[in-house]
Amino acid sequence: MSSARYEYLLRLGDNALILSQRLGEWCGKGPALEEDMALTNNALDLLGQARLWLSLAAEEAGDGADEDTLAYLRDDREFRNVLLVEQPNGSYADTLARQFLFDAWSSLVLRRLLASSDPAIAAIAEKAVKEVSYHLRRSSDLVVRLGDGTALSHAMLQGAIDKVWPYHHELFIGDAIDAEMVASGIGFDPEHLKDEWLAYVREVLNEATLKVPAAGGWMPKGGKQGLHSEHLSKLLAEMQTLQRSHPGASW
């Protein structure tokens, strides 16, 4: 059941699902009404993308699973999202820094998948890349506004970028699943995205008068293989509680 394509689809779907859940936590608590709406709309786009990826994963598994059982009935070790997206929301600066680094990477991922030899994957990428490009424009604009804003917003955003920075390394580390996807023409080598990602992030941070953190340092990884921080377990406890307590509940 656990084919490489299944694992690959879980990674794509879980990144979108977990970040969507994180953004949804801001609902009703955004710093301004417009920001509240923007975050939840962003979450909605990601949730839609997660459904598309996970439905395809369920189809690949062919064991009676569907998008809902994959979202609600897997344990933390079975999730394949990168560590970046499970990081807690923190302050608005923390949420924005996480979103900006993710949007830039996700845009590149989806652009690569447009050329996938797998037509179902290419079709989802075609749909999602338009949405994520819009997210990236928004998060980039906000990074510039707050970075090049007041002394306080500048300091908060620099602190947030520094804090979330170690989690970008994992985005560019390939493993055996990635290698298999490259060989079959379905996927790409994640390492090949790094230069362009870094060039873009640097351009925006420069414009925002923010510093790009030094290279090297702590490189947490393992999310893609199911090794997560405790943050994910708590997120799942909340997200899954209804289906765990009342299996099959619907309304």
Partner: protein, 175 residues
């Protein structure tokens, strides 16, 4: 197959579909919106192919149910719904009538073509963003407007304000 049942022509089906309103913006129909991509018969079963506007648009499922209901009302009980993701929906598919109806309803229609916008930055990430479109206030026709938020009340809209008449309004994003 029941020989007594006469299958309505596809033109007739399209005309019926043109009467199904968008659940969130009821002044335009689902065919105005350009989301109905194909109508065909598979044997004696009608198949309607729809493409979603945005991946997470909550109206997608409501629209599918409304289509089946409308078809059932015209005697087609077993209409099958199919989803097509590629080519991805674009506001370039909005009919000119739809744009006029949006405007009259108080929503500024998309300015320009999404296809032109994407030609700019599809190959690599670029910080160069296309010039912001001049969005005309649907109430007073002033071009002195500003964006308040990239996202509005639904995924397909952003929020604007007219600096002449001071009224806020929705802009149907070019997508």
């Amino acid at each position: 197959m029941n020989p007594a049942v006469v299958m309505p022509s596809l033109d007739q089906v399209w005309a019926w579909l043109a009467e199904v309103p968008d659940p969130e913006i009821p002044v335009i129909s689902i065919t105005d919106l350009g989301i109905v991509r194909e109508v065909r018969y598979d044997g004696d079963q009608l198949v309607v192919t729809v493409t979603p506007t945005y991946s997470g648009c909550p109206a997608t499922e409501v629209i599918a149910a409304m289509i089946q209901e409308a078809m059932a009302a015209h005697g087609i009980a077993n209409a099958k719904m199919e989803t097509r993701l590629s080519p991805a929906w674009t506001t370039d598919w909005l009919t000119p009538e739809a744009k006029a109806k949006l405007h009259d309803y108080g929503i500024a229609p998309p300015v320009g073509l999404a296809a032109n916008e994407q030609r700019i930055d599809i190959s690599r990430l670029s910080r160069r963003v296309p010039d912001a479109p001049v969005v005309v206030c649907p109430r007073c026709a002033s071009t002195n407007t500003e964006m308040l938020s990239q996202f509005g009340s639904t995924p397909c809209k952003s929020l604007y304000r007219c600096k002449s008449c001071r009224e806020p309004f929705d802009y149907f994003k070019c997508h």
